[in-house]
Symmetry: C2
Subunit: 195 residues, 2 copies
DNA sequence: CCCGGTGCTCAACAGGTGTTTAACTTGGAT
DNA sequence: ATCCAAGTTAAACACCTGTTGAGCACCGGG
């Protein structure tokens, strides 16, 4: 029963190429456009090859998600070590590629249980790490928790960046300047720019 | 050329039922699950009937979107006339059904131009109306624009409610209490509860 | 009484999808 | 020189999709 078939190695260049294509497809046309046949044809290979590396399509999505999540985690970790860590974190959050993928996966998770589980796991870990980092930074800066708690800044950045990026993608930008100012006024107070 | 086929009346009960089913499907399984055949089978009718009311699938999506958008607009307009209008607006924004649909359509718009156009139009009108209402309310309450501008409150509510509802839907709620407090602390100041 | 329109179905076309099975090719180790 | 394993393909199965053209059943107005 269920003699598992051969599966391609994780370090294969082709595998990476397939993931790159799937990622671009997801950002350009949404998760519904991603599938073994579509990815295969864009890569100029046979659909069966996609299944050689990703036996079922959920495996493709999961691999894509994990790769993106780990990159994002690493970028945020690096941000906490920057000279102005809060600004660096905000910059990472405002990256259209990273946050765009997160948005797409959030939509996908609504009807793919395997993705949902992974999303929640990573989401909680990510939030925990961010909050811990901001807690240290706030202690350093002497931020009054009555003004803003670490959790609040983290969720504020997350919510605003997601909305701004989603809306920018469809060409809606009414009030975006004001929205950014919510976070940036806070940043100006605790991490003032040289100018 | 293009002899347009017969199209069912807008006031038909069946048409409304089809829209209701499409809406539930969209909320439960995401936009990718919505289509003429799927909707037809859930309604227990022939797929051709769906095309009788909605010649092509985009028509279904557009009708669904317009209905939802108008309902949402009306609810928000009613909220501005409530005794505590800011609280009422926040309550409307935090309704999972309405905001859930908005989220799903935002994802859909990325690869359906017709939807995108409609979404931007409605989005801008909605935001404008909300901002005007809040401007009047702020003038009434004497809110210092240094503390918060009307636009900022509108976008803050929108961004936070979208994120909270999206995440709740997949079972991620870390820090949500703190996030809600960002808005609710402001509400407490200007629209204090009786207790 | 029949005529026209409305609601609805049947059956099909044309295409897309995920997935599997077997087999081919190629390059390195033995 | 040969054997094996990895990368890759061709072909097919089974299914789901949007969409259409013709035609059915019914019902109210002439």
């Amino acid at each position: 029963m269920a003699t598992r078939r051969r599966v391609g190695s994780t370090s294969s260049e082709t595998r990476t190429r397939l993931l790159d294509i799937a990622e671009r497809l997801m950002l350009d046309e949404g998760y519904a456009a991603v599938g073994s046949r579509r990815v295969a044809s864009l890569a100029g290979v046979n659909p069966a090859l996609v299944h050689y590396y990703f036996p079922v399509t959920d495996d493709l999505f999961l691999a894509l998600y994990r790769r993106g999540a780990e990159r994002m985690l690493e970028r945020h970790r690096a941000a906490t070590e920057a000279p102005q860590p809060l600004r660096a974190m905000w910059k990472v959050a405002m990256d259209p590629r990273g946050t765009g993928l997160v948005n797409e996966f959030a939509a996908l998770a609504s009807h793919r249980k395997a993705i949902q589980v992974e999303l929640v796991q990573y989401g909680e870990e990510h939030r925990r790490l961010m909050t811990e980092a901001v807690t240290r930074i706030f202690a350093d800066y002497g931020v009054d928790p009555e003004e803003m708690t670490p959790t609040q800044l983290v969720l504020l950045m997350t919510a605003l960046s997601r909305m701004l990026i989603t809306e920018d993608a469809i060409g809606l930008s009414l009030g975006h300047g004001d929205a950014r100012a919510i976070v940036e006024r806070f940043l100006d107070r605790y991490e003032p720019l040289p100018g």
